[in-house]
Amino acid sequence: MIRESMIMKIHYATALGSVALVVIHVLFRLTQNFHDSLKFDNVITNYSLLPYSILLELILILISIHGFNGLRVILLELNQGQKYETIITYGCLASMIALITYGSRTILMTSMGMI
């Protein structure tokens, strides 16, 4: 098991990393008219850029780790107990892995033109 102090360092590092990357992600939407930037062809063009796909994958991983660890912390503040804490920890970990897998599938398949 990782120490809680180390988990909080990871929590803060993922927070700072995701803030920096999300700013770039949002700026991409503002390079043109907001509605136009969401058009199918524009989005496909965005995904076909390798650096942008890597950016999306990093955002997915960082926010998933930060978000599900944050949820775990909130739920552990509300209630304690060995069984409860184990269920919450592994439940959040499993949800995080599931979300990263699902999101990665979209990024990989779209960037490789498999649509």
Binding site: Y12, L60, G103, T110, I115
Partner: protein, 144 residues
């Protein structure tokens, strides 16, 4: 045998933002915005996955989300993320010992030094900047 009292208030205490001042309000808001942003993030991952089903399904999904209601949700998300980010940086600095004052002997009225004016101002600034970000996003999404 000792009688055990069930005096745990639980979520009712957690949800009370008024009793402990602006710091308690920030604590509460930090958790609410965190959960809200996680819910939005999961929805966003699901929404964008519709691109795999082709242009028609993508456009149908856009029709669902690119509505005044959808834009209002986005405005709220921008406000939540701004507050969560700025207040999060304040908390990180506090955990690193920055801006919480030096340790000293506790004297009456035992006001915690860590909850000083700098921290209070930071919380008010987080709320103010979140409001400004929301105003800007209204301009971007509804002003076209």
């Amino acid at each position: 045998m000792n009688k055990q009292h069930n005096n745990r208030i639980g979520i009712k205490a957690w949800l009370n933002p008024w009793r402990y001042g602006i710091e308690r309000f920030a604590y509460w808001l930090m958790r609410i915005t965190g959960v809200g942003l996680l819910v939005y993030f999961i929805m966003h991952i699901y929404e964008t996955s519709s691109i795999l089903d082709g242009k028609e399904i993508w456009n149908k999904m856009l029709d669902l989300t690119q509505t005044p209601e959808g834009h209002l949700i986005l405005v709220l998300v921008i406000g939540m993320s701004t507050f969560h980010t700025i207040n999060g940086i304040r908390i990180m600095l506090g955990h690193g010992g920055i801006g919480v004052g030096k340790a000293s002997r506790p004297d009456y009225p035992y006001a915690p030094k860590s909850q000083n004016m700098k921290n209070k101002l930071c919380i008010y600034a987080s709320i103010g900047l979140a409001a400004l970000a929301m105003l800007y996003s209204v301009e971007v999404m509804f002003g076209e």
